[in-house]
Symmetry: C2
């Protein structure tokens, strides 16, 4: 039985950037939004230009990923089919990615000097639900 979700189950939701005197308002996620699946933690991950953080898989966490600063290329890997999906989001393509558990993922900074990934996760950090592979364990041209 294959429990790995299809990469089609990753949602891409365009978000509003609202022009506001003194500094713009950028939407993130509301409890009523598609893709929200409970609240466990919000944290931030900086990614330096041309750096790569890969590969991880969450066994139980659904991630909601928003990039308010810079631009980040995310790669997703479906092991059972040996296929990839790439999505680049950030200030120039301001969307939220909803990533179900059990998908291998990595990401790379494509903005100088660095980009900020915000993860609104349905679980608090738990090292026991994270699987890791080395960068070169999955062949992908970053």
């Amino acid at each position: 039985m294959i429990v790995e979700p299809s990469l089609d189950e990753i949602l891409v939701t365009p978000l509003k950037q609202i022009d506001t005197p003194g500094g713009d308002i950028f939407h993130g996620i509301k409890a009523m939004d598609a893709g929200f699946s409970g609240f466990g933690e919000v944290y931030f991950s900086w990614i330096n230009f041309q750096a790569v953080k890969a590969w991880k898989q969450h066994r139980r966490m659904t991630m909601n990923l928003i990039v308010p600063v810079g631009n980040v290329r995310f790669a997703f890997y479906q092991e059972s089919e040996d296929i990839f999906r790439t999505e680049t989001i950030g200030q120039d393509n301001y969307c939220r990615l909803t990533v179900p558990p059990k998908i291998w993922f990595g990401f790379s900074g494509v903005f100088m000097p660095k980009s900020l990934v915000t993860n609104v996760a349905n679980l608090s950090h738990d090292p026991h639900e994270v699987l890791r592979k080395d960068l070169n364990d999955i062949s992908y041209l970053w």
Copy 2:
């Protein structure tokens, strides 16, 4: 009867910045943390250097404010006592501010070119629960 909370009820919680290859991890808030009071929305508010956004009061929203980019001076005003409290948080003093409802607040960017405020709120945006005053309605030296 005074329903206005004391300014002492604003919590300041130091947060971790974790040195990580490729880009640091910055903590935000976990569901189990002191100050968390439910999830309604995450949104971002940019604040330009020397810009001021003031004054607002939420009637029902508890804000959890985190500044992963730049530095922001927040001012809080207790009308019944005519007193202020100021807290400057951001990348150089990386803390979370938990602000109960019914406190007047405003904020100013003290970092060039701009700073990013993240609000993890217990309610989704509802214009009916927001009170506003003009900048000059409350006398404060920004």
